[in-house]
Amino acid sequence: MLENYFPVLMFVLVGVGFGFVPMIAGWLLGPSKPDPEKLSPYECGFEAFEDARMKFDVRYYLIAIIFILFDLEIAFLFPWAAVLGEFAGNESLRFFGFFEMLVFLGILILGYIWVWKKGALDWE
């Protein structure tokens, strides 16, 4: 069972290694003549002013939080979706499996409607 995942682990390592190879090749083969102008952050020819790590819109933060809720929901839905077919074939569990998830989804949808009404999804 677990040895099935060994090629996956190797592939992840090779994939990350594969990212480094071209960069090392570029670093070895390319020229390196740094000067202060070249190394300054690009700002359309002007001298960079202020710090680049400036304040950003709070809505990005909101989107991230809402995303976590929905992504968790999806993680919970995955196993349910995979076994729903078995539920459908079983007389006694048939509607139980469906309506249980309906309640779970219903709570999420209530929150979703609230967030929508509050305007957290608006970008005007």
């Binding site: 960069m23 740094p34 989804l105 005007e124």
Partner: protein, 350 residues
């Protein structure tokens, strides 16, 4: 094949043999993938060229076929600039983290029955998890560059990618419901069943037809996930010059470029597996095979290029509205319809 491998196995011992043999398989998979990535860039320039009544690249080699190789060589000899204000370690890690997941996801992609590197049961979960890792590369690149454009581009891009991941995830739940499995091989095999397939019209029993809204949502989300036009505000050259990779040059930029195209090929292959029957033949009288998967993925990729040539760029608020207020409700409604359909006597997935 086994007879050939036996002596090698005895020579290396079982542990080392597994290691080397897996490595060989990975290389056999990655090499054609890299060639595909290279020629996807060529196809893009050529196809968009023809769509805009231009010729596209035609100088390097016959009909410009060597153009991608010339590009790669050129980029290799360019200087990699690390801006003075950048966090050097993270700046270098950014592109690697963007490319790594785009390649690693291929570990579980089945090409034909039996032709898969790792046939794991939770392959859909793995693909979802590893594909979400790509956003770290973008955030790291944007933040570590210490440049305003890079920072803005990274914020936009990250918010956009996670927003569409929600719609994409819900669309996938629909696929899992009808396939009763998290295994990609099972998902494809599930699409070979049904009345239409037994009549020799396999393409009607694939998931795209009963799950049509999910298919559309998934297709649109993949375009947004890969930051492609018309959802390419992360790069928006007219406003934030190149977004998160504005400070990258030479090979460091090329790695981002590779990651974008490798991601495109990945999502095209996944769309074919989830909705278009993977390696299954559309009609009964033709055999199944890997070529079908390649053809379907190429078909989806053509759409990506076509979109870029046709659609004007979305505004950022329109992108967010489409993701959260249109695609998400569509998938939620279709999930409920699908659940009720599966429990009703009219279910076609018994």
């Amino acid at each position: 094949m086994d007879a050939l491998l036996q002596p090698v196995q005895q020579l290396l011992g079982p542990t080392l043999f597994t290691l080397v043999w897996t490595l060989v398989k990975i290389v056999v998979l990655l090499a054609p993938l890299m060639i595909c990535v290279a020629y996807l860039t060529y196809a893009e320039r050529k196809i968009i060229g023809y769509m805009q009544v231009r010729l596209g690249p035609n100088r390097v080699g016959p009909k410009g076929w060597l153009q991608p190789i010339a590009d790669a060589v050129k980029l290799m000899f360019k200087e990699i600039i690390i801006p003075s204000g950048a966090n050097k370690g993270l700046f270098i890690l950014g592109p690697v983290l963007a490319l790594g997941p785009a390649l690693a996801a291929w570990a579980v992609i089945p090409f034909a029955p039996g032709i898969v590197l790792a046939n794991v049961d939770a392959s859909v979960l793995y693909v979802m998890a590893i594909a979400s890792m790509g956003v770290y590369g973008i955030i790291l690149a944007g933040w570590s560059s210490n440049s305003k454009y890079a920072m803005l581009g990274a914020m936009r891009s990250a918010a956009q990618i996670i927003s569409y991941e929600v719609a994409m995830g819900f669309a996938l739940v629909g696929v899992l419901m009808v396939s009763h499995s998290l295994n990609l091989v099972e998902i494809v095999n599930g699409q070979a069943k049904g009345w239409a397939a037994s009549q020799g019209l396999g393409f009607l029993s694939w998931n795209w037809l009963p799950l049509f809204p999910m298919f559309m949502v998934y297709l649109i989300s993949t375009v947004a996930e890969t930051n492609r036009a018309p959802f390419d505000v992360a790069e928006g050259e007219s406003e934030i010059v190149a977004g998160f990779h504005v400070e990258y040059g030479g090979m460091a930029f090329a790695v981002f470029f590779l990651a974008e195209y490798a991601n495109m090929i990945l999502v095209a292959a996944l769309t074919s597996l989830f909705f278009l029957g993977g390696w299954l033949s559309p009609v009964g009288f033709l055999p199944d095979g890997m070529l079908w998967l390649v053809a379907k993925a190429a078909f989806i990729l053509f759409f990506f290029l076509w979109f870029r040539a046709t659609f004007p760029r979305y505004r950022y608020d329109q992108i967010m509205r489409l993701g959260w207020k249109v695609l998400l409700p569509v998938t939620l409604v279709w999930l409920l319809v699908l659940g009720a359909w599966m429990l009703s006597p009219f279910s076609i997935w018994k």
